[in-house]
C-alpha cells in the first residue's frame, strides 16, 4: 500500500478540494439557499447567484491550475537517472 507525499497531498487535496468546492459544495449551497439556475440557456442572467459565477468558476480554475502545476512539477522534479524505475 502506498501513500501520498506532501506534494501529492497539495495537488490532491488543494486541487481536488477547490474543484469539488466550486462544482459540488457551492452548487449544493446555490440549490438550497441561492439560485438553482442563475443563467438561462441563452446566457441571460435570470437570478443573482449566492456566490458570483465568476468567483465560482475562478475557484474551479484555481483547482485545475494546481493540478496542472503538479503535473509539470512531477516531470521537472524527476531525475531521469535515479527515478528510471518510476511506478506512477
Amino acid at each position: 500500500m502506498s501513500e501520498l507525499n506532501t506534494a501529492d497531498k497539495i495537488a490532491a487535496y488543494g486541487g481536488g478540494g477547490l474543484v469539488v468546492l466550486g462544482v459540488f459544495v457551492i452548487g449544493l449551497l446555490e440549490m438550497f439557499l441561492g439560485s438553482t439556475h442563475p443563467v438561462s440557456g441563452e446566457g441571460q442572467i435570470e437570478h443573482e447567484a449566492l456566490i458570483p459565477l465568476e468567483v465560482r468558476s475562478g475557484i474551479i480554475l484555481l483547482g485545475l491550475l494546481i493540478w496542472a502545476a503538479y503535473a509539470v512539477y512531477k516531470v521537472v522534479a524527476t531525475t531521469p537517472a535515479t527515478d528510471a524505475g518510476r511506478t506512477v
Binding site: M1, S2, E3, L4, D8, A12, G16, V19, V20, V23, F24, G27, L28, M31, T36, H37, T87, V88
Partner: protein, 177 residues
Amino acid sequence: MGTNVETRLLGRDVSFTVAEPWLAYWLVILRVTVGWWMLHAGLDKFLAWPFDASWFVGGAAAGTTLGPVVTLFSEGAALSFVNIMVPLGQTLIGLGLVLGALTRLASFFGAMLMTFFYFINGETGGWAHGLVTGELLGLLLFAMFATLGAGRVLGVDAYLAEMDLFKDNARLQWLIG
C-alpha cells in the same frame, strides 16, 4: 508506490503499475462530479416544478432511432410517469453517486438515461457536434463506475458490503460496489 496490474487484453500480456491512492482519489473526484451533474439536473426540475418532458419524448424523439419506443410515453399516464421519473431518476442517480450508495445500480440507470439523451439529442441535432458528445462521455463514465465499483471508495457501499443482507446474497452484491 503502486500496485502492479498483470492481465491479458486482446490476446496480449498487459502489465502496468497503478498508484493506489491516485486510483482511489480519481474514482471519488469523478464520482462526486458526475453525481452532482445528475443531482443538479434532477433537483433543478423539482424546484422549477412542474416538469414537462413532452417536447422531448413526443417531439424531439419522433423520427429518431429510439423514437418508436420513446414516443410510446408521449401522452396520458405514460407521459405523467416520465414527467416524474426523469427528475426522480436523475436525483436518485445523483445521490447514489455522490454518496457512493448502490453505485452500480445508479450507474446502470445513469447509462440508460444517457443512452436516450445521446441518441435523441444527437440525431435531432444532425450530429452537428460530432459523435463524441457530453452524453456519450457521461455514459462511458457511468459504465466505468459500475465496472470498478467506485462506491467502495469513501462511499456508503463500503458499509453496505459488510452487511449480512449483501454478504449472503450474491445477486444483491451486483447492485453495490
